[in-house]
């Protein structure tokens, strides 16, 4: 029944589409709540998770999940109202995590894991098990997003007003952190540490330029994401580029095209 998944192109395309479709709403929420930098931090610290996972001889993904959850739980304890995450704190966690992870990985026999695949992921090497994990995560996240969408948007607009109106802002934010942690754990394998943040932020920024409602921005992000995925995969096959970086550059190219089109449209008026 799942023979069609035997083709690695199909597997990686499906994985990419799933990632992009969940990265759209998550990326929008992270941008709205000024948490874009958090994805970078968690991505970098995840290297330590990979190192720990391999060192303890458990699955690297479990190591990553443990580390990112640990970080978001401790961060959520120190953030209070109108006191967004300090960039300094995030930078310290980010770089220390990356450094510790690199040292740990360096102590291992070199064939255990390639640094390149940690940094850039390997979409084309997506296995059926990866695909199942991605699908599971997407289902969980979509369910939570649908259930709390209104509150998430309200909290993004103003935490103070949302709280006064009876929304439990802190609980919601903690949930958001856990969702980000889960997303980054599964994105890690296919997208890699350095590309996660790009995939969450660049299509979203393009969509911001042309949308007039929060939902339009989510749809736009998904659309730009899918186009970047397509462009990235095609150029990767055509020119033998690495898939991850090719996807990111396609997204950036689309951002510039959108900026240009918007400018032309404005001057035409």
């Amino acid at each position: 029944m799942t023979e069609w998944l035997d083709d690695f192109v199909v597997r990686s395309t499906v994985a990419g589409l799933l990632m992009i479709s969940i990265a759209a709403p998550m990326g929008c929420l992270m941008i709205w709540q000024r948490m874009a930098f958090l994805s970078d931090t968690l991505g970098h610290a995840a290297v330590l998770g990979v190192g720990l996972g391999l060192w303890l001889q458990i699955h690297p993904m479990i190591g990553v999940l443990a580390i990112v959850v640990l970080i978001v739980v401790s961060l959520s304890r120190v953030v209070s109202f109108n006191n967004s995450l300090s960039e300094t704190t995030l930078a310290i966690i980010s770089h220390s995590g990356l450094a510790a992870g690199l040292i740990l990985l360096g102590t291992m026999p070199s064939q255990t894991v390639s640094l390149e695949s940690i940094l850039f992921g390997d979409l084309l090497a997506t296995t059926k098990i990866d695909l199942a994990m991605i699908l599971g995560t997407v289902v969980i996240l979509v369910f939570l997003l649908l259930q709390h969408w209104r509150s998430f948007v309200a909290v993004s607009v103003s935490q103070e007003i949302a709280q006064a109106e009876g929304i439990e802002v802190r609980k919601l934010q903690f949930l958001m952190y856990l969702m980000i942690a889960l997303l980054i754990t599964v994105m890690m394998k296919v997208m890699g540490v350095l590309l996660i943040a790009a995939v969450l932020v660049i299509p979203t920024s393009s969509a911001r330029l042309i949308s007039r409602s929060p939902e339009q921005m989510v749809l736009g992000s998904a659309l730009f994401g899918v186009m970047s995925l397509g462009g990235g995969m095609l150029s990767s096959f055509q020119f033998d580029w690495q898939t991850g970086p090719a996807i990111v550059l396609s997204a950036t190219a689309l951002l510039f095209v959108t900026l240009l089109v918007r400018r032309l449209a404005r001057s035409a008026l």
Partner: protein
């Protein structure tokens, strides 16, 4: 709690980063009443409103809220999220299911009906305040909390704004908690004044507060002025249900 009692605070204390901000403050907010908090900068006015709205938890004392208390809140500093595309209409329908008609009505009451279709991030600070003031009246609130709603508004705008707040309170039959540093402008509208300077200096009807020695010590200059300006037509009576008869 009696039916019209919305919020009751008893011996509320709050300790900030640099020491105590509120010490043993007791108060009661009723449906149909406008309560004004006055006090100098750093007196803990915003802290107290934040405790009422649930943004902050008191460190000591007891705060009781009526069941399912619905609060409309206008914060002192309104911050616009420029990263999210959002229309004014949608902002008003964000957490509550209200019809477009109601949104129109609320906006025209605060004289910003023309902003209905505009994107929130293109509004000026004054426009946004009026939009958010309109927002507080939607969804049948029991209590409207306004933290210095007139900051950055000129005097004539300020008087208009207080008139509006008086109108809302009559229409909605709700309680109003207002933070102001300008007692003489709000006096004629206020049923109860809480004069705050980390502790509750004095409270009660505006007439009695304006003659209280602690109030005079805090607002000596302004108080003299306010007595001159003060024209208090506070001749309505409250019936049992708290309704006004002017």
């Amino acid at each position: 709690m009696s039916a019209d009692l919305l919020v009751k605070g008893k011996d509320i204390g709050f300790i900030g980063k640099s020491g105590p901000i509120l010490d043993s403050v007791s108060f009661e907010l009723y449906r149909g009443q406008i309560t004004t908090i006055i006090g100098p900068n750093g007196a803990g006015k915003s802290t107290l409103t934040n405790i009422v709205t649930g943004l902050l938890q008191a460190h000591s004392g007891v705060l009781e809220r009526a069941n399912n208390l619905c609060i409309g809140y206008l914060p002192q500093k309104v911050y616009v999220n420029t990263l999210m595309p959002l229309s004014v209409k949608r902002l008003l329908q964000l957490t509550q299911t209200v019809s477009d008609e109601e949104v129109h009505q609320a906006l025209s009451q605060t004289e910003v009906g023309y902003l209905y279709d505009r994107q929130v991030q293109t509004l000026s600070e004054g426009e946004l305040k009026r939009v958010l003031l309109a927002r507080t009246t939607l969804g049948k609130p029991d209590l409207i909390v306004l933290d210095e709603p007139t900051a950055g508004v000129d005097i004539s705008g300020e008087i208009k704004m207080y008139d509006l707040i008086g109108e809302f309170h009559n229409q909605l039959q709700c309680g109003v908690l207002l933070v102001s540093h300008n007692l003489h402008l709000v006096m004629s509208k206020t049923d109860q004044v809480l004069c705050l300077n980390r502790h509750l200096c004095c409270s009660g009807l505006p007439e009695s507060v304006s003659q209280h020695p602690e109030y005079l010590a805090l607002f000596g200059d302004q108080a003299a002025e306010s007595l001159a300006v003060y024209t208090h037509h506070h001749d309505h009576i409250h019936d049992v249900a708290g309704h006004h008869h002017d």
